[in-house]
Symmetry: C2
Subunit: 215 residues, 2 copies
């Protein structure tokens, strides 16, 4: 068994996920081999970066006909995917929460959304896109029962500040936070913040910069 490198850069992990997505699309189209510069072009990056990423995870093809799409997909999966299932809970079943569950249900992924949580009595007790919606009061209980280890925060920001404690108590290991409220969680918990306002303000800033450069 080849030793899997353990210190893979964060950015490389992101790109591996993106590569795999693209490769799966190619695989569906019957493409069996792909050159590094073709894969790179599809992502707007250089071929060197693709090859370097693959080197970092210990993948090599030594043929000059391009990478075998299926083999590469499996290799990336062996890096990214966990053997034990990752169960995901969604907190906040508004538009954003529903967008995420709907999106995931349509895919065949190792990651599974197994429950949603909300405080709206009209939603609690129902199924949305095949996912049961529980009341936030049941959070810890259901997390434990369903083996949830990751949560997506898609609630309004004002609710988010009250979620630190239940998330810690329930033993959640990873959080994908779409609210604008920074969380206050211990280091052992993986947190990724993607506030949509920040993302847009960032785009707007660089658009502004580009325009000023042109003048």
């Amino acid at each position: 068994m080849s030793n899997i490198p353990s210190n893979i850069p964060e950015k490389t992990i992101e790109r591996l996920s993106e590569y795999r997505r693209t490769l799966l699309r190619c695989h569906k189209q019957g493409i069996t081999h792909i050159f590094s510069h073709v894969l790179a072009g599809m992502h707007g990056i250089t071929a060197v970066q693709v090859r370097r990423d693959l080197m970092l995870i210990g993948f090599s093809s030594d043929t000059k006909k391009g990478y075998d799409v299926k083999v590469l997909i499996d290799f990336i999966s062996s890096i990214l995917d966990s053997e034990s299932p990752m169960n995901i809970g969604v907190i906040g079943m508004g538009h954003l929460g529903q967008a995420i569950t709907k999106y995931f249900n349509s895919k065949d992924l190792k990651l599974k959304i197994t429950a949603a949580f909300d405080i709206d009595q009209n939603k609690v007790g129902t199924m949305i896109d095949g996912i049961p919606v529980f009341h936030m009061d049941e959070f810890e209980e259901r997390v434990s029962e369903l083996g949830i280890n990751i949560v997506v925060l898609s609630s309004p920001a004002r609710v988010a500040s009250e979620l630190d404690v239940p998330i810690i108590n329930a033993g959640i290991k990873g959080v994908l936070n779409f609210t604008s409220k920074p969380l206050n969680l211990p280091h052992g918990i993986v947190v990724e913040n993607y506030d949509i306002t920040t993302l847009l303000e960032k785009v707007a800033y660089f658009v502004k910069e580009n325009e000023e450069k042109d003048i």
Copy 2:
């Protein structure tokens, strides 16, 4: 007029947006001054990073009572905000598109969502959360008419591949892409990709890594 530094790191821009959000919240609560380490703590980063970010944009306070919240908000705004309005269009008015518009309408931001585009005849011609929904066929026309320079892509991935050309033709300057399909746009256009699957796979990967580290 103090010269505004023009080469601010991308990560600093992100953090500035986050600082401002937090500062606005503090301002509402009547907090007038804030120490660098307090602001840092709210974001799970170090005080050094906060001070360095502020240094990079040329902000200094020289008092030791902490930063004046209101003054700092205005200073950050002078960096981030454009004088000419940034008008945003949303492509794809599914759950994600609606989540974004709803979210933005409730805030008082310089960025304004002024139109949405879709191909669903049930949505076209209606108003959703105060935003008019046009058919994608009208895209270029409406972009020009409404002065839209940024778009949010929240359509299904399979549609996204057909959007490169209209986006270029309409003269869009910035794209926030939530689809899994990488776009093929020239360098002059600012593109930020945030595929939700990738974000979740990243969190899942580092959760897995943490667990393996503990064993």
